[in-house]
Amino acid sequence: MPNQTDSLIIKICGSAGDGSISAVEILNRACALMGFHIMNFDSYPAEIRGFGKSVGHTRISRSPVLTPGRLADCLVSLNDVHAITELSRITPDAVILYDSKPPDYVEEDHAIAGFIQPGMTGYGIPLRDLSTQAVKSSRSRNIVALGALAAIYNMSLDAFMEAIAIRFSRKAAAVMKNNETALKLGHDFIVQHGERPARIDLQAQHWTRTDISIISGNEAAAQGALDAGLSFYAGYPITPATKIMEYLAKKLPGRNGVVVQTEDEISAIGHVVGAGYAGKRAMTATSGPGFCLMTETLNLAVEAEIGIVVIDCMRGGPSTGLPTKTEQSDLYLAVYGGSGDSPRIVLAPADVTECYTLTRRAFEVAEAFQTPVIILMDFFLSNRFEDLPGSIFESFRSGVFEKIQAIAGDDPYLRFAITDSGISPVAYPGMKGLQHTITGLEHSPNGFPNYDGDNHRRMDAKRQRKIDNIRFAWPSPEEIGSPDRADAGIISWGSSIGAAMEAIRHPDLSGAAIAGFFPRLLYPIQDGALKQFSDRCAELIVVELNSSGQMAGMVEQITSRKVIRLAEVPAEPPAVESIVRQIQGVLK
């Protein structure tokens, strides 16, 4: 089945060192410059021993890209042995670009040319020869291939040149010249020998998108934190969250912030709670196993009312599970994973842009509500690249939530004063006349331990109330599709929203009355909006990447109805086709 006609999926496959990943980076950048949207999510085969296959996977489209798609329209082989194993992941009418003169040591049945099926279009190009011609080595085969792609899809070579310049931070003129030669040789070879496939044409419409960042979800979250005024990060390496720390380690010290790699996750969250207590914007990021270790100290932040941000980049579970596979199975842990009644605010971005915006906003929320805010990302979001308009960084409207600070006065300061909003004016160490002691024990308004039942009831209610209030200040959940009665209401969250959206808009479902409900605030969920949505839907279907139906369970609690669970653990992003089929099943 071909992909949507307005998008093109390209895979570049090689061995480590063949430059497939950097070719995809240049391709992404060039496409973005030409005005296209991209989503790049490299596939991670269960690989072997350091060496081995590396596959860049990118989707290019005129409209914003919702999912990376599964089957490639075009496979570029820089190493036939590896590329052959990707043949099951291309469309029946795919384009295959390969080296027509592979080196001698490729055995007969390891040449991809022999595998090209009827319906596919093969482009045999002497990549190695042309590279040698350009740079006197085979090192530029990837650039030659890009040139060929430009010709095949009618793309602007200038955009590629600019992309190369950016990629190599405008290195020496000689390097640029070499690359230009390689690019041209590939391009011209196609123009002279090949025939351009008509189906997809990526001729640039405009050339204005110069303010584009092509960044991953992890980078976007880290940048969002920086732009929120992050001043403290503590973390412990864990896939797929490590990139966040690596990014911040480069940037934060230059902004007078602190990054510390701790001895474990307990220490990481401890440091963050300490910095939050000191009144600083502080964050950590981890994945399931590390998040488990953080729960005790996270609970301290709930009880002692300290605002911090914790990102959980989810991966397959339970336990060490599938570290390099995506899943959304920590929702229960984030919402319910504390001892006692321990409410925390839980957010989940749907795409890379929101990794930026939600992280940025999370700091305001944490500070205003004086409570931990958990952001649920996942392997897919963490590691995929998207084009973000630079405007996002400036246009971000901040200051919706503001912290309420205490002022020293004659009366003794009550750090945990009971208020209607549940929020008590806060004071940080260093502030004169507001000294007080806080504790993870239940306490009186003044912070002193207090084991009385009535006091506990009041404090417990205060902590829940302040958090419940965010539902009214937070933007309404996104709803798409049919605005009135719907035959099916699709609810989804986090990185699965893209696939759910694409499914709802799928041509096979046109005509059906389908609506979508996509919250970003997962706890406390905006129950009023959810109930209204539920009321207008004949069936509710929850799409998520876990097997227990964690969001589904929460929806059932609130709507008092059974929902249909499209809850699966395929170890990869949800498949749009399968969602469409299942919705069709429900509809008939």
């Binding site: 001895e263 401890g270 440091h271 000294q435 007080h436």
Partner: protein, 294 residues
Amino acid sequence: MTDQEKSFSDTPLVNTRIASDLAEVNMSGLLDYRSHALPTWCPGCGYYGITHGLTLALKDLKIPNENLVIVSGIGCAGRLPFFVKGYGFHTVHGRALPIASGVKMASPDLTVLVVGGDGDGFGIGGGHIPHVIRRNVDLTYILFDNSIYGLTKGQASPTTPRGQVTSTSPFGTLEDPINPYLMVLAYGASFLATGFAGHPDNLANIFREAVNHRGFSMIIVTTPCITFDHVNVTYDRFRGLFEPIPADHDTGDLQAAMNLVASGRRFDGILYQASRPTWTERLDSIRGEIKRMS
């Protein structure tokens, strides 16, 4: 009361004995650093002596109350912040060091003290000590070593001698105790002192030096739990044991310090002190380069 952690209410009953203690404290002007809350410790607990020593040191150091932060773990010892005037954070069991590090790294101008028990520090929290020492975060860590879990009513701790009968070792403990002094020196601590709760004036001197030390300073104070230990750390057994630091001891000599603590003798004073950049100094020293590169 069989299975209950000791607790205290919001409006502590003033008992006569403590009220007179307080009057004494008041006269000496120490109330600048003592809160209105009366300690919830058992009368006679060594912790009163440590608190007294700390109050004396704070008075001398004249740290503005608002810049003083005491971070504690859970245990009887962990209750100290409630009894001192300043900012206080009674955290979770074993995590005072990471949390205090976060406070100090984020706000280097604050004076951050850490207090906790031997179970809190060497048991559940033991994994954090080498790392705060590696970073040399400028904290002062006062460890209340009564060789017992006080708050949970008398279980063995990592410093309980082998063979001691406790509530969880009715036939005597099977584990060898750690040598906490040797351990901390092996970690590369830049300041280590030891002392006894029965000598608050000595403690005051040590605490003052420790707070003034640039970098991580640790003071391990031996202190009797008069309620749950009648055989090991008692006033009677220990008061005479603590010796002044030998006059010829060079506190800059790690080897000599290790020899002293390996001997099994107990000392009242600073065993080792070295000058080593603090975390904040390390970071500051490369900020220039960082700014250039980023």
